[in-house]
Structures are given as structure tokens and as C-alpha cells.
């Protein structure tokens, strides 16, 4: 126990500020505020692997590490699509995952956002369209934001997620007018 505590204290807090290269990401509180203003609570994301090679998943995992600390921004990964506001979909959409992907989407309550992840999610990547793959997430679901990269870095993923939230704020403001 002592060793555990000593390690915790010794290392301290390592979380970084959200990436500075994108101004929209600069201020942690503003970000959290934005999530709250859209949803009134934490943003809940359900990840769906629709044929990824698993490297995109590794970078999504990295979002949860103490450095990117995505939970600190008010964003959480959830186990059920029924609790989700957003689907984060990876892979060129293998035909064998089509049904599961559609069902997951249908089980997600409206309004919902869809973010397609990676070159595969954007346009099928190196796998393209074939007897086994549909070739992009947007061929199956309405996609709000697509994040290219192979795999996209955690920073890019975060930018994509935040862009989708922002866009939905924009949409709502328009509707209110």
C-alpha cells in the first residue's frame, strides 16, 4: 500500500491541457462547459469496431490514459448504446458487422452523433470496398464527422469528437432561430 501511495504522490498529475494547436481545444473549462451546454451532463460515447485492424482502438484507448484524460473533459465511454450520445465507429465496415452496426445505431437514443474513425472509417482505407467490406461508415449510417488517419492520433480523435459536438450546438442554435 505504501508503495502504491508513494508512486501516486511521486508521479503527481500528468494530464496535459487539451492540444493547443487547435484553438477551439485550448481551454479545458470552456470545453467542459460546452459539453454541458449541449447535453447538460457528460458526453457518453459508445465505440463500435466495424472491421478495424485494432490500431484505431489502441488510440481510442489512449484517450483514457492520464495524459489525455478524456474523462476530465466530461466525456465518457459507455457499455451500452442505450446510454450513448455518440457512436465512434472504426473500420471499413465488414459485411459481417453490418447488422450489428445498424442495430447498435438503432438502439442509440435520438439525437445521436456519429463519428467515423480512421482512413478505413472514412473511405475503406487500404481494404476499400469488396465482397467483404462496405467501404465506409457513411455508406451505412449518417456520419457527422469523419476523422482521417491510420490510425488517427488521440489528439485528432479528440478534435473530431469536439467538432461533432460543436456542430450539433450550431445546428441547435439554427433551429432555435
Amino acid at each position: 500500500m505504501i508503495k502504491t501511495l508513494r508512486t501516486i504522490v511521486g508521479i503527481g498529475i500528468v494530464s496535459e491541457l487539451p492540444p493547443a494547436q487547435d484553438d477551439t481545444l485550448r481551454v479545458r473549462e470552456a470545453l467542459q462547459q460546452e459539453v454541458l451546454s449541449v447535453l447538460g451532463r457528460a458526453l457518453c460515447i459508445r465505440h463500435v469496431d466495424a472491421g478495424s485492424c485494432n490500431a484505431c482502438e489502441l488510440e481510442i484507448h489512449a484517450l483514457n490514459n492520464p495524459i489525455y484524460n478524456i474523462e476530465g473533459l466530461g466525456i465518457r465511454f459507455v457499455a451500452s448504446p442505450r446510454h450513448a450520445d455518440m457512436l465512434l465507429v472504426t473500420g471499413p465496415v465488414s459485411r459481417h458487422m453490418l447488422t450489428a452496426l445498424r442495430r447498435t445505431y438503432d438502439a442509440t437514443p435520438d439525437p445521436k452523433l456519429v463519428v467515423a474513425v480512421g482512413d478505413c472509417g472514412c473511405n475503406g482505407g487500404i481494404f476499400g470496398t469488396s465482397y467483404a467490406t462496405v467501404g465506409s461508415v457513411s455508406a451505412v449510417l449518417p456520419v457527422d464527422v469523419a476523422v482521417p488517419g491510420c490510425p488517427p492520433s488521440p489528439v485528432r480523435l479528440l478534435q473530431g469528437i469536439l467538432t461533432a459536438i460543436r456542430q450539433s450546438v450550431g445546428d441547435r442554435t439554427l433551429k432555435a432561430l
Binding site: I11, I60, N65, S80, S94, H96, Y131, A132
Partner: protein, 470 residues
């Protein structure tokens, strides 16, 4: 047995191939197949792992083995049983594959037995697959796996690519083993061309492979602590992993080492100072991991959950052909880096890390041992890195040939069998992940454990879906 695959007769003269590891050599058996309706002798009696490989070969190539289980394996609904994607592209329309797969699972009958179906979409951020548990109370009587959800038509895709481009696809077969796959592919390609890769390049490849091993082990050790209810472990290990990913990026330009191994060598020649940085980061990480290992060892909750969970005895491991990391945790003394060293491992050979208990604790211990061994080895590679060029030009022969690449990745041996035509095209490229051997062992490991321990046991194997489903 390393792998079994079929080249369908429709793309020239067909054959069924089995690659076996005999001492430190690969023995390749080949039986000619003239006509797709011919059956060949199944090997499942000698090598139980062959059963699924034969079923997959039937799905993809339309050539069947003489074996009791004739159910499809990789095929769900994207093509029909009369189609064989590796012989001819299926004529399926865009909507095919939307129907529901009606696979016939084995039923367990008896008082109080019920089934729990799980997946393909799981609760965590992991790959998709279906697990069917038959349980009494909380105890698992039987687990049956159903995989193939992320089948992407990889082997057919290879035949559409130029052989000099194939390494990019190989790098994306299983994202956590991108170095192992792209190296195995390039090894096969370089063997076809009779090319000797410059030494500096092979050393850099060795460094990449060890870094990949370290990245995965750090990730797994954190996740395993977390699955045992110790979130501290996840936080610490994922921080160390991130540190390693960042220094990896500074050395090779990539966090995950996609496309660093290229035909004839490596894509990047790192400078002396970034190499020194990598070395010092590795030393720090190894020291930190030693501390964390003490913490894990002292933690009674962790000990309780790890010890005795998901056992594969050495005897069962031998029968099933359990391989790689999981094999070494069940006394299977195989590590190709030591048994059949290729450059650079004949210059610096790692000591295989072996345990005999075959439980979660043993698979964790092997990872801890390998982190120490790999970081030592990588630093040795870094300090003695030879000078010279990092690529050599590669010219393919103008005759049909087959060559095999074999690399001990972090999970186990990755095999690539590459066949080219006289015109210099890829005729067949078979890729094999060690998960083929180890998935069936997971079905055994879970028996008599409780359902809530499945995530932990599953994670301790951490098998690939994408590398298996292809």
C-alpha cells in the same frame, strides 16, 4: 503446426499446404489439388488447431478437408456456400451480409443449464466476436466462440496489389502487431528476390519488433490490473505506454510502427541523439515497471484474482499446440527468436521467459519478464547499432515461386506465405496469426471458472480478432 492453407485450383494448380515447425526449421508439406470438389485428408486428429483452419480454407477456397466438423467458420452471410472468394470474387450485391448468421452452436443439455450469448459488440473498447457460454449458476460448463465478424477479404485484396505494395496491407492485418506482420511479409518477399537486407536495417527492424512487444505488454499489464479491480495499475501502465509511444514517434515518425518496415529495409534512419533518448526512456520504463511489479505482487486482491484463474496445463497446451506468449506461460518452451534466430537475433539472443502454471498469473508474469528482457535487448541493439545503409533495391524474379516469412511477434509466431506468378504478381498470400492456435485454448481455459472472470481471462490471452478473421 504453424499454419494450414489452400491455394484454390482456379488460380492455377491448386494445393493444400501445411507448415510445421521441426526443431528450428520450417517443414512445408504440399498436396496438389486439381479440382475443387476433391477432398484432402484433414489434420485435426494430429493438430486440433487445424480444424478451424480447414473450415476457413473451405469457406475461402471451396476446397474441403475430410473432417467431422463441416460448419462454416469465417463465412457468415457475405457470400454463399457455393462461392469461394479466393477462387472468384463473389457476385454479392451491396446489401449482402445484412442478414443474420444462423450458425449452429453446440447445445449443452441438463438440469439448470442455460446459455449466455455475448457479442459481437462488447461492453469495452475491444474488437467484435461472439461468445456463447453454457452455464450452471455462475460456473461455465462450456464456451463456444464464433469469430469472423471482422473478415475484410485481406487475402483476396493481396492478389490485387503489387508485391512491392503488399507490406502496407500486411501492416494493417492486425494493428497491434504491425511490425511483426510487415516484417514477415518483407522477409518472404526478400527471400523470393534472394535479397540480403543491410544489417543496420535488420537491427532497426529488431528494435521496432521489441518496441512493439513492450507497447503491447505495457498496455496489457495495465488492463489486467484494471480487470482485477486495481485502477491504479491501468493509470500507471497507460502512462508509461504513452511515454513509450511518444518516444517511438520521435524516433520512427510513428506512434504505432505502421509502414516502417518496407521491402528491402526500413523507411527511416534515426539519428544518434533520438536513439540515445529511446535508450534512456527504456531504462526509466524498465525501472518503473520493476516497482509496479512489486506493487502487483504485494496486492492481495490482485493475487486472488490472478492465481488459478483460466488454467491451461502444460499437457493441454502441448495437445492444443498453444503458442507464443500464452504457450510460454504453460511450459511450452518455444520462442523463435531464441530457437531459430534470424538477423539480428543471432547476434543478440533473448532468453525465453517461461512459466508452468498456465493461469492468468503466469501470463502476467511472462509479460513482466518479457518487459525486462525486451528492454534490455532493445538497449543492447541500440548501443551496438551497426552503420550502413537502411535499404537495398529489390528485384523480383521472373518465375513463379513461393516463400515463407516467419516472425515471433509479441503474441507469438506470425507467418506469411507469399506466392508470385511469372509476371511478378501476387498469386496467393496467406497470413497466419498465432491466435488461430490459441483461441481454441481459451474455450478450455474458461471451463469451471465463473462468468465474471471471463474478461480477465480473455485479456490475459489478448488474442487478435482482426488477425484471425482476415
Amino acid at each position: 503446426m504453424l499454419s494450414l492453407w489452400v491455394t484454390p485450383p482456379d488460380v492455377g494448380s491448386g494445393a493444400v499446404h501445411a507448415a510445421l515447425l521441426v526443431d528450428s526449421a520450417v517443414l512445408l508439406l504440399e498436396q496438389e489439388i486439381r479440382d475443387g470438389s476433391e477432398r484432402y485428408q484433414g489434420l485435426q486428429e494430429l493438430f486440433p488447431a487445424a480444424a478451424r483452419m480447414q473450415r476457413a480454407a473451405a469457406d475461402l477456397c471451396g476446397v474441403r478437408a475430410d473432417a467431422p466438423d463441416q460448419r462454416p467458420w469465417l463465412r457468415h452471410t457475405a457470400w454463399t456456400s457455393d462461392e469461394a472468394p479466393l477462387a472468384r470474387a463473389p457476385t454479392s450485391g451491396p446489401e449482402s451480409g445484412s442478414a443474420v448468421d444462423d450458425y449452429s452452436f453446440v447445445r449443452v443439455a441438463g438440469d439448470g443449464v442455460h446459455e449466455i450469448p455475448v457479442g459481437p459488440v462488447h461492453a469495452g473498447i475491444i474488437e467484435p466476436g461472439h461468445f456463447r457460454f453454457s452455464v450452471v449458476g455462475e460456473k461455465v460448463l462450456r464456451l463456444e466462440e464464433r469469430l469472423g465478424y471482422v473478415h475484410k477479404g485481406v487475402e483476396r485484396r493481396f492478389t490485387e496489389l503489387d508485391p512491392l505494395e503488399g507490406h502496407r496491407l500486411a501492416a494493417r492485418i492486425c494493428g497491434d502487431s504491425t511490425v511483426a506482420y510487415s516484417w514477415a511479409y518483407c522477409q518472404a518477399l526478400e527471400a523470393l528476390a534472394g535479397l540480403q537486407v543491410p544489417v543496420r536495417a535488420t537491427w532497426l527492424r529488431g528494435i521496432c519488433l521489441e518496441v512493439e512487444r513492450l507497447q503491447n505488454h505495457l498496455g496489457d499489464l495495465g488492463a489486467l490490473g484494471n480487470d482485477a479491480g486495481f485502477a491504479f495499475g491501468l493509470a500507471q501502465f497507460s502512462r508509461l505506454k504513452e511515454e513509450l509511444l511518444r518516444v517511438t514517434e520521435s524516433v520512427f515518425g510513428q506512434r504505432y510502427l505502421m509502414d516502417v518496415v518496407v521491402p528491402g529495409g526500413v523507411a527511416i534512419d534515426p539519428s544518434a541523439d533520438v536513439i540515445a533518448r529511446l535508450s534512456s526512456v527504456l531504462r526509466d520504463i524498465a525501472a518503473r515497471v520493476r516497482l509496479l511489479r512489486d506493487i502487483y505482487d504485494d496486492h492481495s486482491g490482485i493475487r486472488d484474482r490472478f492465481a488459478g484463474a483460466g488454467v491451461v496445463t502444460p499437457e493441454l497446451a502441448r495437445q492444443l499446440g498453444l503458442t507464443g506468449l500464452a504457450g510460454r506461460a504453460s511450459l511450452q518452451l518455444r520462442d523463435l527468436r531464441a530457437d531459430a534466430p534470424w538477423s539480428p537475433y543471432h547476434a543478440l539472443t533473448p532468453t525465453p521467459c517461461i512459466r508452468r502454471e498456465g493461469d492468468v498469473a503466469a501470463r502476467v508474469a511472462v509479460r513482466f519478464d518479457e518487459v525486462a528482457e525486451s528492454s534490455r535487448l532493445t538497449r543492447a541493439f541500440l548501443s551496438d547499432l551497426p552503420d550502413g545503409p537502411v535499404t537495398a533495391p529489390l528485384a523480383l524474379p521472373r518465375e513463379p515461386r513461393l516463400a515463407i516469412g516467419l516472425i515471433e511477434g509479441w503474441r507469438g509466431p506470425v507467418l506469411v506465405a507469399l506466392e508470385i506468378t511469372a509476371a511478378g504478381r501476387i498469386r496467393r498470400c496467406h497470413v497466419h496469426d498465432p491466435s488461430w492456435q490459441n483461441w481454441p485454448a481459451l474455450e478450455h481455459a474458461i471451463i469451471s471458472n465463473i462468468v465474471p472472470d471471463f474478461p480477465l481471462i480473455n485479456k490475459s490471452f489478448n488474442l487478435s480478432y482482426s488477425g484471425h478473421d482476415l
